[in-house]
């Protein structure tokens, strides 16, 4: 399954290429902590992120989207697969070059309350990356930190305060400033607005958009809110139970989804109009356990259009339309 993106859409080079990324978490039990089972969190996921774009990634809770994000940064060690950033394979990198790589890749976390050290003034938190990489003198670092705080709409006098003195939205902006202080090229946004009020969500999303323009950032934007993803993404990937099921341009996905799972997801977006009636695809049952995923297509147990073949053979993730990748036997 090669990731040669179609020539028409390849104006920009690929910054990040993920090939067959797999992460199984061991389940240990008993007094000897023997591995009794494996949670198949991510199974052979492949995609590429182009320089300067925002790739949205959606899926239900537990479908492995967060694990994909953390594996890319090697915050969790993938079981197998390849992640190359700017042509370098990250998975086999030694600690020293990995540390250098951290300057180029950053992450913004979901929970703005847990992601800041409660005993560290926020100016110092923003400065932390600069200290670790020994960039500039202490005074320069402080100035950079304050500049970053100003970029996300905070003031200089905030820098000496502690995280508990800020609201959720402010903290999330501090998290963004911290990620940006090292001037990375690529940022994994791991559900950065899921924990925020709707009014604050748009504010943070707009800051992310502005910063993308200013610094030429590339985002992998993980979320479970389809409207948020539609707002910010250039392309969207859909994951289900550790597998990627569909990946295409945003407009194509929202206009003409090919995978039955994507169709079901999109039909679940509420429309704020009382008279609009539409065909809703309502999925039955729960997501199967990633401990023991179904054979064949992982979605076949809940798929409204599944046929016999789906329960035996796993569909290939292929380019069904130009630039439109999907993993389903029933898509022509």
């Amino acid at each position: 399954m090669a990731m040669n993106t179609n020539m028409q859409t390849q104006e920009k080079p690929d910054l990040l290429v993920v090939k067959n990324l797999t992460k199984y978490f061991p389940v240990r039990s008993g007094i000897f902590q023997r591995v009794s089972a494996w949670v198949q969190a991510v199974d052979k996921v492949s995609f590429a992120v182009k320089s300067g774009e925002t790739l949205g990634m959606v899926g239900e809770s537990g479908c492995g989207k967060t694990t994909v994000g953390r594996s890319i940064l090697r915050l969790v060690e993938p079981t197998s697969g390849e992640v190359s950033f700017n042509g370098e394979n990250i998975i086999t990198m030694r600690p020293k070059s990995l540390k250098a790589l951290r300057r180029d890749m950053q992450i913004i976390f979901q929970d703005p309350y847990a992601s800041l050290n409660p005993r560290m003034p926020i100016g110092e938190a923003v400065m932390e990356g600069l200290q670790i990489h020994k960039i500039g003198h202490p005074k320069e670092r402080w100035e950079i930190a304050i500049n970053m705080l100003k970029k996300v709409g905070l003031e200089e006098y905030h820098a000496r305060r502690y995280p508990h003195e800020f609201s959720g939205g402010q903290r999330q902006r501090i998290g963004i400033a911290r990620a940006l202080a090292l001037r990375p090229k690529f940022i994994v946004c791991d559900e950065p607005v899921s924990a925020l009020d709707v009014s604050i969500q748009s504010q943070v999303l707009n800051i992310l958009k502005d910063l993308q323009k200013e610094f030429g950032l590339t985002y992998l934007f993980i979320a479970h809110n389809l409207s948020v993803v539609e707002h910010i993404s250039d392309r969207v990937a859909v994951m289900y139970l550790g597998k990627m099921v569909e990946l295409t341009e945003r407009d194509a996905l929202y206009r003409e989804p090919l995978h039955p799972y994507t169709k079901a997801l999109l039909s679940a977006i509420p429309i704020p109009h009382p008279n609009v009636k539409r065909d809703r695809t309502i999925l039955k049952g729960d997501v199967p356990s990633p401990l023991n995923p179904p054979k064949g297509c992982r979605f076949h147990t809940r798929c409204p259009i599944a046929v016999e073949k789906c329960s035996h053979d796993e569909p290939e993730f292929r380019e069904a339309r130009p630039g439109h990748w999907v993993a389903c036997w029933l898509v022509e």
């Binding site: 953390r70 915050l75 976390f109 992601s115 050290n117 005993r119 932390e128 670790i132």
Partner: protein, 332 residues
């Protein structure tokens, strides 16, 4: 007062509330804890008296006046006109001066023991909790094994071995001089005290290590640790910048409670005759040396007992106050 003035006042108050740092918050809560504040005052007075020992009393610690043994409180020395406020002991040494100098030595031994045992405990506990797996298993099984051994008999055996054989643990001259200067002892006697510190701290770090490990175990799962790692933070960086500052609250409380324990432990060792030996006064060995006069001159063994009691009580209350101030939810 006009409305605008009131508003101004309210605003000013609001700002001061915002500006309060965690340290100030803790201080305010501590000051409100009556018993802890009284204990603090008592300890400050005791410390000042012991620090100013040479200025408060004109008698030397080992100044023997053979003719004036067992004199009652307030006896005036006929040759020099100096007052024996608390009388003299069995060989005519001024009891008041010896109590003060003894306090200096006993408290220094307790403080040094706490300092060393908490430092070792913090680092062993941090390493054990942070790395987990076999490192944790090995370190913690060792700690648990040591804790199952009854401490006092072991302390007795070890301290008697150390006191008899001076070369068993070589202690650098500079350390002896430093400790000797604090305790106003010559290096030879200081050696004795340092050995007691080594013995006490050698067993004292065990429980601090367990405490620290537990704290780190919960801290390392926090997102801000992952954030630091994604910024390129090494293990040592994360332990120093994130683990230790966040674990300080229980450690400080543990230290103040341990302080009480060490005052008593030092006295117990000395009382049993395996601590610091006689010409050098400590509260414990003064008690032990005068116990034979318990029935005809009961104040002689009682007087050194009082500061032991007061100090251990005060350190316990200070510990309680600190616990309530630092973290009201903490159970220790």
């Amino acid at each position: 007062m006009t409305v605008s003035a009131q508003i101004e006042k309210l605003e000013a108050e609001a700002i001061t509330i915002e500006e309060r740092s965690p340290f100030q918050v803790v201080m305010r809560r501590f000051v409100r804890h009556r018993l802890a504040m009284v204990s603090m005052a008592v300890m400050v007075i005791i410390f000042i008296i012991t620090i100013l020992a040479p200025y408060i009393t004109s008698f030397k610690v080992d100044e023997i006046n053979v003719n004036n043994y067992f004199v009652p409180f307030g006896t005036v020395d006929e040759d020099t006109g100096r007052v024996h406020y608390l009388g003299t002991d069995n060989i005519g040494r001024d009891y008041f001066s010896r109590l003060i100098y003894a306090g200096r030595i006993s408290l220094t031994v307790a403080l040094l023991s706490v300092l060393i045992s908490e430092t070792i405990g913090v680092f062993v506990g941090a390493v054990s909790g942070f790395y987990g797996r076999w490192v944790d298993a090995v370190l913690m099984r060792f700690v648990e094994f040591m804790l199952t051994i009854p401490t006092l008999p072991l302390l007795l055996i070890i301290s008697s071995m150390l006191l008899r054989n001076e070369d068993l643990i070589p202690i650098p001259e500079s350390v002896l001089n430093f400790v000797g200067n604090i305790m106003l002892l010559n290096p030879r006697d200081a050696r004795n005290a340092v050995l007691i510190v080594v013995v006490l701290a050698g067993f004292g770090w065990l429980s601090s290590a367990q405490l620290m490990r537990g704290t780190v175990l919960s801290l390392r799962e926090q997102t801000f640790v992952e954030a630091s790692r994604s910024l390129g933070g090494t293990d040592i960086w994360i332990i120093m910048k994130h683990m230790i500052p966040n674990a300080m609250a229980p450690i400080i409380v543990d230290a103040s409670l341990a302080l009480a324990g060490y005052v008593v432990a030092e006295a117990a060792l000395a009382f049993l005759g395996f601590g610091i030996q006689d010409p050098v006064p400590t509260w414990g060995n003064m008690l032990s040396a005068t116990q034979t006069y318990m029935f005809d001159k009961p104040w002689l063994p009682l007087l050194p007992g009082i500061p032991i009691f007061v100090c251990s009580l005060a350190f316990n209350y200070i510990g309680d106050g600190l616990r309530d101030a630092l973290d009201p939810r903490l159970k220790l």
